[in-house]
């Protein structure tokens, strides 16, 4: 059975490499993806995926995942809202879908233990902190991908399966201010700086993310942060799928990691 794959808005733009690496990794693991090329409207996407005969819809973006999951869960709980929205969108929804994130796909559908078998070049010695941001865990009762919304470990488990270390750090679920990316960039810079600072404090070699928005802020803004706060972190930010790809022996360029603004080349030297 194929998994519905909703790439979201950024996968063909600022997060191309996430799209590329996700597809490659899934192919390697034998997970079939079927793209749901849809509009940025959660409800309609659920309807479309259902129409396509899929029983699950997987998203790589935590914002998309969050919206889809909230929509799905809310509609499951409130039939009157479902009717109202069905009217607006003009399509019925049978609520049969399973809404999952890429992390769910890897950790729960595929299984962390099996990941270990696919590792060809363990990332020994690499210290990676994982950044979940707000959207993967909040609100916990509706969306959290981890039962412990305050201290999720689902990404850590995958990273450890790849052979890397995951030191404690304090900012895994702090907000980066993504919704103000353009309107109040000053806030984003302040918050992103805090996150980078915490990662540096944890002595991390890189930050691992599972969301294009988180990636965009953390990767793109480092030079602006350097000029505003006077600290040049040059801390590589990697998508979880990229890290998996590297551990599975795929190439740096093959995975699109060369497209990052903060280069991860030195970090991954000898690992690919």
């Amino acid at each position: 059975m194929a998994y519905g794959y909703y790439p979201g808005c950024s996968s063909h733009g600022t997060a191309k490499e996430y799209d590329i690496s996700t597809k490659k990794v899934c192919e390697r693991l034998g997970l079939k993806l079927e793209e749901v090329l849809a509009l940025a409207l959660p409800f309609r996407n659920l309807v479309l995926a259902e129409k396509q005969g899929l029983d699950s819809i997987m998203s790589t973006c935590s914002a998309c995942y969050n919206r889809l999951k909230v929509a799905h869960e809310t509609l499951k709980r409130a039939p009157e809202i479902l009717n109202r929205i069905s009217e607006i969108v003009g399509e019925p929804y049978n609520k049969t879908l399973k809404v999952i994130h890429f992390l769910d796909l890897i950790s729960k559908e595929f299984g962390v233990e099996k990941i270990k078998e696919s590792v060809m070049k363990p990332l020994t010695g690499l210290k990676a902190v994982s950044y979940y941001g707000c959207l993967l865990t909040r609100p916990p009762e509706l969306v959290s991908i981890d039962p412990d919304a305050e201290n999720p470990t689902i990404m850590e488990e995958i990273i450890e399966a790849l052979g890397a270390e995951t030191p404690y750090w304090s900012h895994k679920t702090e907000c980066c201010g993504a919704s103000f990316a353009l309107s109040r960039t000053d806030i984003v810079l302040r918050l992103t700086n805090e996150i980078l600072k915490a990662a540096r404090f944890a002595d991390a070699d890189c930050i691992v993310v599972a969301c294009p928005l988180c990636f965009a802020n953390l990767d793109m803004r480092q030079s602006q942060i350097a000029s505003k706060y006077g600290v040049n972190y040059s801390l590589p930010v990697l998508f979880i799928s990229e890290l998996m790809g590297i551990a599975m022996g795929m190439g740096y360029k093959e995975l699109g990691i060369d497209k990052h603004i903060v280069s991860a080349k030195d970090l991954l030297k000898g690992k690919e």
Binding site: D148, A149, E150, N151, Y168, S170, H171, A198, F201
Partner: protein, 457 residues
């Protein structure tokens, strides 16, 4: 403690549990299981050699896991009785089948691995329930580390660290590195007044013991700074408010009105992110130690005891009193009284007052040889009874029982009877009876019909 152990009217059964209670006021039959200590209480001299030499170390429950105890142990040096007990779960004799160090070293030959539980059956006229409380498990607060940070402790853990008989001999140090803390944060209402993660009620003692902690910390560590995040200060008790004021004025505690949203670790410091709603801003404290004022909760197994005793409990598991104002130590089961925090969170003065109250109720009950009972109870007309026993099912007190009588012609017959002393007169049996053979004295069907007729005229 010593006083109760020396009073000749008091028999103390430690390491024992009440298993079954039947009967009624003035006449309870109780079964108590005296668990095997595996140490003969008569032979043991309390010399302590056994637990000094025992090779197994486990976290001490008494020290709230701030220290270790052995597999054969006394919980604390002043324990009454001063007789060790072997913890079967951890003792090597039971986990691995060999060791016997304590037995070999005991000169009194008191260690007995074969000892078995003893079941005692006794009769009592009254029961006082004083089972106390449990502490809320703060690990549900992921934002406070979920139990992962060694230097985020509970108030009772701090209590053990302050105690001269505690694991550190009364030196207040951080569990993580043994250093003396200089900047300490207290967080109030952890699990209390929090319907989402804990309980909606106020635990009633935390405001005061936190103030006490701030005072004691200052006395132990003169250059310590204490910061207390609170929502309201509840100091309704004699001399309580003055105590809190002294804590602020003389002991330099900084009270910050607001809750804490998150605690995280940075190096060997704990960063506490809170709010000061009075200043209208966020507050960040770089703390060495964080103490959580965890809620008082009902004993985790209070419901089981409630069922044994036939007393009600509230939605949190606290036992329910007969009347919140007029009968606070009595229960609906006559002869069963409540004392202390098993009823609701209480501080020591309230607990002692409740205990003395319960004791007086018992003494009053015992002051006469007989007890006069209200006759407003059910009776069964056995000549009409069809023995369907529906009444037995609805009776909450098991007051209806089956008896066998011998008729004049010598044949035996089973019939139902109401135990007058057990019946509370609720009348559930009357309205359940299918053959209308049960009558509630003072409130018969006929009387109610008459009343209805009178009003309908």
């Amino acid at each position: 403690m010593v006083e109760s152990s020396q009073n000749e009217n008091i028999e103390i059964l430690t390491y024992s549990e009440v298993e079954e209670v039947s009967g009624y006021i003035g006449n309870f039959d109780v079964r108590i299981r005296k668990k095997a200590r595996l140490v003969d209480m008569k032979k043991c001299t309390g010399c302590g050699t056994c637990y000094q030499k025992c090779p197994v170390k486990v976290p001490s429950e008494f020290d709230m896991e701030t220290g270790m105890r052995k597999a054969i142990y006394i919980p604390f040096p002043q324990a009454v009785p001063n007789v060790p007990v072997i913890d079967k779960v951890n003792c090597r004799m039971f986990t691995k089948g060999k060791c016997q160090i304590c037995q070999k070293l005991c000169q009194a030959e008191a260690v007995d691995y074969e000892q078995e539980d003893e079941v005692i059956e006794d009769k009592f006229g009254a029961v006082v329930v004083a089972t106390g409380y449990d502490l809320f498990d703060a690990s549900v607060y992921g934002e406070y580390g979920g139990g992962r940070f060694k230097d985020v402790i509970s108030g009772l853990q701090l209590e053990r660290l302050i105690s001269p008989a505690g694991p550190t001999g009364g030196h207040i140090v951080r569990p993580s590195d043994g250093k003396e803390p200089k900047n300490v944060v207290f967080i109030q209402c952890v699990g209390s007044r929090d319907p989402e993660k804990g309980f909606p009620y106020c635990s009633s003692v935390c405001c005061m013991y936190t103030a006490k902690h701030a005072v004691l910390l200052k006395e132990h560590i003169p250059d310590v700074q204490t910061n207390i995040f609170y929502m309201d200060i509840r100091s309704a008790g004699k001399n309580y408010e003055q105590f809190v004021q002294r804590t602020m004025e003389q002991y330099g505690a900084l009270y910050i009105r607001g809750r804490v949203s998150k605690i995280y670790q940075r190096g060997d410091k704990l960063i506490v992110k809170g709010a000061d709603t009075l200043a209208g801003s966020q507050v960040e404290v770089e703390a060495d130690l964080v103490v959580l004022a965890t809620a008082i909760t009902a004993r985790h197994d209070s419901k089981e005891l409630a069922k044994i005793l036939g007393i009600p409990y509230d939605q949190f598991g606290f036992f329910t009193e007969l009347h919140p104002k007029l009968a606070p130590v009595e229960t609906v089961t006559s002869g069963v009284f409540l004392a202390g925090a098993c009823q609701s969170p209480k501080d020591i003065p309230d607990t002692v007052a409740a205990a003395s109250g319960a004791a007086v109720k018992v003494a009053a009950l015992f002051s006469g040889d007989f007890l006069s009972m209200e006759p407003l109870v059910s009776t069964i007309d056995t000549s009409v009874c069809s023995m369907c026993k529906a009444c037995m099912e609805v009776c909450p007190y098991n007051a209806i029982q089956e008896e066998e009588i011998t008729l004049r012609d010598g044949t035996k017959k089973k019939q139902l009877k109401v135990l007058e002393s057990v019946c509370h007169g609720c009348g559930a049996c009357v309205s359940t009876c299918r053959s209308s053979c049960i009558m509630l004295k003072g409130m018969t069907d006929e009387q109610i019909f008459e009343e209805l007729m009178a009003v309908a005229q």
